[in-house]
């Protein structure tokens, strides 16, 4: 790996390419490995499977990306998804429409509470959302009596969620559409630009007259809403929902956003690249599965190594820029 980084540091052209398209390069490398070693990798069926696998955490990652771009972090997304899924499952039999609406509103509400704790009570995002994580997980388990809640998947919403359009899983279409909207919001709306500005320098954003507190609140509400949507879709896909199913979703989402090249200090990152981060995290377990002899624990080790490699590559380049600007940071 050392020689590889040496090459990139010696060649500014490659370096800037690695910086801007690093996640895409990593994803393509994984795909090449998959195609060469496993004949069943590059088939429409398998690709549809990967998309189906990553769509829910992908939707969570979109909200997470907004929060991280604003300089915050949201540890509560997995718990909000769990609570939303349990709510949706409990409502799905009698009130199929409310089963979609209420959990998503609840998720947005919990996001708003996160935002209030962070902007009004000045609690660091890490702690505020940690508290929300504990609270929402506790509530989700209490609502489901510690067991899995049965979910009625015969309604129209489940039918649509589980269907395919021309071989493409509907759930994947929802994810890609949501990401498309998120890209436009991040790039072309006052809210999106404000999120970047706040993440870049909150004090400066405030002095420029941006509604810092309002937009931070909105970012957390968006994150809560995305998480709850993923939870509802989960309940629409599976006939039994247990809050434990969502353990670690926040880490997957954070990892996806980090791999995509988004800086955890905020302000830097491309929403479109979240797609690469999400797909990389989905492709690794798929390859491990095809390999056969390795298990999910090995998949975690390999995920960690890939995560580290992508981050190291990006950090070396960031440090180099720091030096070229003089010793400013």
């Amino acid at each position: 790996m050392d020689t590889k980084t040496e090459v990139t540091t010696n060649n500014p052209g490659t370096a800037s390419l690695m910086q801007s398209e690093g996640p895409l390069v990593a994803l393509l490398a994984l795909c090449v490995v998959g195609t060469v070693f496993f004949p069943t990798f590059l088939t429409p069926l398998n690709l549809a499977n990967i998309l189906r696998q990553v769509s829910l955490t992908g939707i969570v990652s979109i909200g997470m990306a907004f929060v991280i771009l604003s300089g915050g972090i949201d540890l509560s997304v997995g718990s909000i998804a769990a609570l939303a899924a349990v709510l949706a499952a409990n409502l799905s039999g009698e009130y199929p429409f409310l089963a979609v609406l209420i959990p998503i509103l609840a998720g947005i509400g919990m996001g708003a509470l996160n935002g209030l704790l962070i902007t009004r009570m000045k609690i660091p995002p890490f702690i505020a959302t940690l508290a929300m994580m504990l609270g929402a997980t506790g509530l989700a388990f209490l609502l489901s009596d510690g067991e899995s809640a049965p979910s009625d998947t015969s309604g129209w919403f489940s039918q649509v969620t589980n269907s395919d359009i021309l071989g493409v899983p509907c759930i994947g279409v929802i994810f890609v559409l949501a990401l498309g909207v998120a890209i436009i919001v991040a790039k072309h709306t006052p809210f999106g630009r404000s999120v970047y500005a706040i993440g870049g320098n909150e004090e400066a954003a405030r002095m420029m007259g941006l509604h810092v507190n309002r937009d931070k609140m909105l970012a957390y509400m968006l994150s809560g809403g995305c998480a709850a949507t993923a939870g509802v879709l989960y309940a629409a896909r599976y006939t039994a929902v247990s809050p434990g199913d969502f353990a670690g979703w926040e880490l997957t989402a954070i990892a996806a956003v980090v791999i995509s090249g988004t800086s955890l200090t905020g302000g830097i990152g491309k929403m479109a690249h979240v797609l690469y981060g999400v797909l990389i995290l989905g492709t690794i377990p798929n390859l491990i599965n095809k390999q056969g002899t390795l298990d999910s624990h090995d998949a975690n080790v390999i995920t960690g190594i890939v995560l580290l490699a992508v981050i190291l590559l990006q950090s070396r380049i960031a440090n180099q820029e720091e030096h070229s600007l003089g010793d400013m940071a």
Partner: protein, 326 residues
Amino acid sequence: MDRNVNTPINTSTGWLKSIAWAEILGNYGAQLVFLTLIAACALSTPKFFSLGTLEITLLDVFPVMLVALGMTLVISSGGIDISVGAIMAISGAVTVALYTSGVGWVLSMGCGIGAAALCGLFNGVLISIFRIQPIIVTLVVMIAGRGLARRIQVDPTTSLKSTPFDTLGLYRIAGKVPVQIVIMLAVIAVMLFVVKKTVFAKNTEAIGDNPRAARLVGVNTLTTTVGVYVVCGVLCAIAGIMTIARIAQLNAVTLGGFIELDAIAAVAIGGTPFSGGRARILGTITGAIIVILVGVIVGLNKMPDDYAKVFKALIIVIAMWAQRRK
């Protein structure tokens, strides 16, 4: 002379009062929550004031206390370590793997602690040399570490019944005091000494306050940062090995699971600021006890465990609100 003494008293009795309140809440927020909690327990739980409850609580506190003390040091350096649970699992897995393959139990434990120190070294080096954010580095170790621990462990669950570990886990000093409580008190004493008296802790807090300024005044940020994460790793190892000794069983998948949440919660309740620059060991001790007490009280009142999570969430928010700085 008269004016100097009188002026503040005459003009601002109410003002002084409000300052005193803010100060008390700011400095002793955790302790106040703690006292309220104890009072509430005593009222609602008749069996609360018995030696058995005290002992169980202290034994339950043990792993969280050790990890939270390490976490306090890490957070005071401006970092965070979410890999603590995975490091516990790795040290436990290494210890048991060596022991079952015939290595002596003391050497096995030494290697387990060494493995955890290596994890800490890895964290510290990536954070200080490569300037990667602590949460990302420790996230990598958290994700990969548990998988690695599972790979090191041969059986999914290994029983340690009637081994030296079993004896150690149930050992009582002078036949009365569980060994965990003595270790915990020793670690607390060492950490108090380190934070109050050593240059290492001052350097750590300086880095947490302003890493660039610390570097400019000659603090060796590399060795200090690495030291902080190694200390945290070693404390995790002691917590991990003593946990498997107490239950005489190793399950690398569940050992130390979610302990990072309890540890971070304990530090937050204890009033160590997350922006770094200050380590409050006494606060963390109270915080760790509160975090575990909530679970014990919920259990004693025969409520589902999940209420404990909700109560912890409320306590974190209240403690953070009480200690906020304006």
